[in-house]
Symmetry: C2
Subunit: 372 residues, 2 copies
């Protein structure tokens, strides 16, 4: 779609954004959505951080797919993130493709799409852009920063770099560093994209084409990692599309058909170069390395309230990663709650209707309010 | 390489091979290797079945890669499969690309490579070709049939269909049916291959090209599933190729470089269409479905000695799959040993130097010999 016609808010930053790679990026636009009303003392704002393929449309119909928002189960009147009570903000990440500046946008130096000339960005850079947005909104201190998966990485980055700007945070199904296995899966996705001749060294926009097939393969591989073996078995097992095997290469099994659909539909809403840049940002994330090699140093003296949540069947961001964060927080005597939610839905559980998860976050937010 | 120059034995079947899809395939060549000497009463033969990307070069230098045989750790004088004692046979599977008839061979009807006109084959078809080979060698009863992963599927198929032709079997790191998650990973690999324009609807041989990039991506995705998260972490962690991050898309992390190498080197020895056909055969494998819906029915009345082995960190063929086989065997009062070997090396453990695994198989074979 034409990004100028995208619903929602846009902030054009009034100064270049310094990036971890050394570049001063400009111009930078931050596209964002808000839900609920900011109260008079500006104390009820919650920043939601989205995951790799998420965006700012947390709780309303997606302008391209027409589907409900990705955290509609969590966000709304009377819900966990209660829009009658809180002012919710979610911005598309830097490098993204839903209105915030990314590789599909015009490079002012050439008048063409950035493509691979776009600087490699980090989770820290994404958060730096969000800080500018929060400044612009006149919010000195967020009530909470929350997000799952890559969103959780941003939450941890916020807590480490800007602890005075927040009272509480909820990192969900995430890690303080991307594991070797996760880097490996991302690299498969990137190779699938760059192997597509239509990728054209990243300059596909200039040739008016797109590496759809490569991006679909990347999405298919990633999608498997978002689910658990048990969830795939329950959902599909070895169920056939038709009554019997066809002895061919069409989608005989329902799981094949499902994956193909996931791959193809993803390409309708996502930019291949954004996929490269955002996966790279996740790979680079290593909070301990950024703080002298010890994760605890990232949180020394913190007064932020933490609610760390993992899911028992999540093998992409397993509970052991959350435990490492909790251990670091405990070693600096932080205020931390930790819940491993029992679920067989895999990593995607953070997006789904998981009553124990929802009740935990709701209780935590109420607790932080009353702890004033 | 030119397959006519391939070292080792070749058997051209003297009659068409009936396939599960209904086709009578001809001509069919079976390429195989042997190790050790068949004894006078032809009672010391062991058939080794190879995995998806393995071949008949179990215990000698590979003619293309120059690397040691894939089960060199297990096969040789004094080793588990002791070539001073046993006569070992391993044939390239039907559909393969190391001398046995597959999609890269000439279709006699057209004089061109089969490509996608090659019939879709099954594990049962692979075994049927092996039975012909064993007949040809004049072996009425094998001492043992052994193999890991897809090799283990063939072992189970042998035990179910031809129990009178074997005394013992060793299915390792395998399953009686391919799971939804495994079908999903295979489908990603197939999509990566068929998305490569050089695949040309399977007719790449006629165009003198090959879908190398697609096949490399398929291999990379699969390779991750062969390892455990712990093995990847121990081997690579977040170690960098150079001293620091480059803020680019070159292989910054050692795990990326390793995966890329795995992908590229695989394309030098493997045919993309063979990869499609063999993964399909694995997806189709469902021993219970082939025997009236109950796995136990596959083994009713069996007198074969079974030694079922799994590895604790194998998430591709987890121990639960082996347990399902053992449960079925127990329900028909079969003679079955079951060992879950404690290892953090993932699925690939079956190819590696795992002392507990090796000792188990060695002891089992001795036990079967003395049980005469």
């Amino acid at each position: 779609m034409n990004m100028d016609a995208l619903p929602g808010h846009k902030l054009v930053l009034d100064a270049p954004l310094p990036l971890d790679c050394g570049v001063e990026l400009e111009p930078v636009t931050v596209a964002y959505q808000t839900y609920g009303t900011l109260n008079a003392d500006r104390s009820n704002a919650i920043l939601i951080c989205h995951a790799l393929t998420g965006d700012q449309f947390v709780a309303d119909r997606h302008p391209i797919t027409g589907k409900p928002g990705w955290w509609q189960a969590m966000v709304g009147p009377g819900k966990v993130f209660d829009t009658d009570r809180y002012f919710l903000i979610c911005s598309n990440v830097l490098g993204g493709c839903m209105g915030t500046t990314g590789p599909a946008d015009l490079n002012p130096a050439t008048g063409k799409a950035w493509g691979l000339d776009f600087p490699v960005i980090t989770i820290g850079d994404m958060v730096r852009a969000q800080v500018r947005l929060i400044d612009h909104l006149g919010i000195a201190k967020l009530f909470c920063v929350a997000g799952g998966s890559m969103g959780g990485m941003q939450v941890l980055e916020w807590a480490a770099r800007y602890p005075s700007r927040m009272r509480a945070c909820v990192p969900v199904a995430t890690a303080a560093r991307h594991s070797a296995q996760n880097i490996a899966f991302h690299e498969v996705g990137r190779q699938a994209i760059t192997a597509d001749p239509e990728w054209r060294d990243g300059a596909y926009a200039n040739a008016d084409t797109r590496p759809q097939r490569g991006l679909a393969v990347a999405r298919m591989a990633a999608h498997i990692t978002y689910l658990s073996e048990a969830a795939l078995h329950r959902k599909f097992g070895r169920n056939l599309q038709r009554g019997s095997l066809t002895f061919g290469f069409d989608a005989d099994f329902q799981v094949e058909s499902y994956l193909r659909h996931q791959g193809i539909s993803f390409t309708e809403r996502f930019d291949a170069n954004s996929y490269l840049y955002i996966t790279r940002a996740m790979d680079y994330f290593d909070l301990a390395a950024d703080h002298g090699g010890a994760l605890a140093h990232a949180f020394t003296g913190t007064r932020v309230h933490f609610c760390v949540i993992s899911f028992s069947s999540d093998w992409l961001f397993p509970t052991s990663e959350s435990r490492a964060v909790v251990k670091a927080l405990n070693s600096v005597a932080a205020n931390v709650s930790f819940v491993e939610v029992d679920s067989d839905k895999g990593h995607d559980a953070f997006l789904l209707d998981e009553p124990e998860f929802h009740a935990t976050v709701k209780g935590f937010l109420a607790g932080v309010e009353s702890a004033t």
